[in-house]
Symmetry: C2
């Protein structure tokens, strides 16, 4: 999918404006509730350019999802991990980033990938696979932290599964915080994930001593 | 909200048919994608009866959410907990129920409350509060199990917070399983929640011995 392929001159900015408008509207209103007219108005574009770049609304969705996938480092991980070198602290620094997004929005924030994953009830395979690829990017980034943590975690801990568990904490925590309009459920979930990590670290340390 | 108030004769069945059609369509297609025409067709009702019982689509949504809230025992907890007396096993029996729902649907299942909580981007306060009340029912049922577990868990463990953490595991696990069309992420998340519980139980047992 060549969604980031650059075209010449004014084509570039029109395409980018359409993409930005779609990303923001899907985030604010959801996919089904966003109309083509909404996108044209927000992008200040005409329907001819829209259909030239994105023949269907789903093409726009795919481009938005591909943008999230390729932008995860720049938009999410790098700002979350600036100045944080410890791999286990990085897991919680990423979760703290979502807390900040919740706090700034008075808990109206929703993870754009998680929201689209639940909003679109019967996604075409290409949409579902790109949603899954976004989750995979997130999970792989955390899995790398857990691998970097080395023997600070017990050797037999499934690090991929633990990364998936960190993602359930974020997604389920954001969902509850957003619904209760309160940080309390998010904080409770992260606190328990942290307690679990401390116990895993203690178990690894004890075995190290015993060996 | 007297959504379960019974009215006479044929009124009853028309109202119930409308409610059932709305619940099933919101679950299958989402709220925004369900039209009034879809509901009338599925309920075999005319628009006059619909507007008599539910003047707006949101009134139908509220009645559906209230039905989930009041029906949680009968529809979810009782079947999940049949034959399971141990309070900690009940936590995992409830999570196993969602696994069965995922398995039966070839992982297309989504929690109806979680899906509506993320689909509806700017819910009216009355909708949001009823979504939150549904989460509260679920969390309170698990919290009661954790209270019943008594000193099998460390005394200082926040049982409400731990119930919230169980809900993040379910919601985040269902979201990932549905997106990957695979039980593996759900199983990984539940496995880690179970490991955390085993560690909490071990910590409680150790302190018991020491005391």
């Amino acid at each position: 999918m060549a969604v980031h392929e650059r075209t010449m001159g004014s084509d570039l900015s029109t395409r980018d404006r359409l993409l930005k408008a779609a990303r923001e509207l899907f985030f604010q209103k959801g996919y089904a509730s966003t109309s083509i007219a909404d996108i044209l108005q927000a992008a200040e574009a005409n329907s001819g350019s829209l259909y030239h770049f994105f023949p269907t609304k789903q093409d726009l969705l795919l481009a938005v999802l591909e943008g999230y996938r390729t932008g995860i480092g720049r938009m999410l991980l790098e700002p979350a991990w600036r100045g944080v070198e410890d791999p286990i602290e990085r897991v919680f620094a990423l979760l703290a980033r979502y807390r900040m997004l919740l706090e700034r929005s008075e808990c109206a924030y929703g993870c754009p990938i998680g929201s689209l994953a639940l909003e679109i009830h019967e996604p075409d395979p290409v949409v579902r696979e790109l949603l899954a690829a976004n989750f995979d990017e997130w999970t792989s980034a955390i899995e790398r932290c857990l691998v970097d943590a080395g023997d600070r975690l017990p050797r037999d801990v499934d690090r991929r599964g633990l990364a998936i568990f960190a993602l359930t904490t974020m997604e389920g925590g954001v969902m509850q915080a957003r619904t209760h309009r309160s940080l309390a459920p998010y904080d409770a979930a992260v606190r328990h994930l942290k307690a679990y990590f401390r116990m895993l670290e203690a178990a690894a340390a004890t075995r190290e001593e015993a060996a």
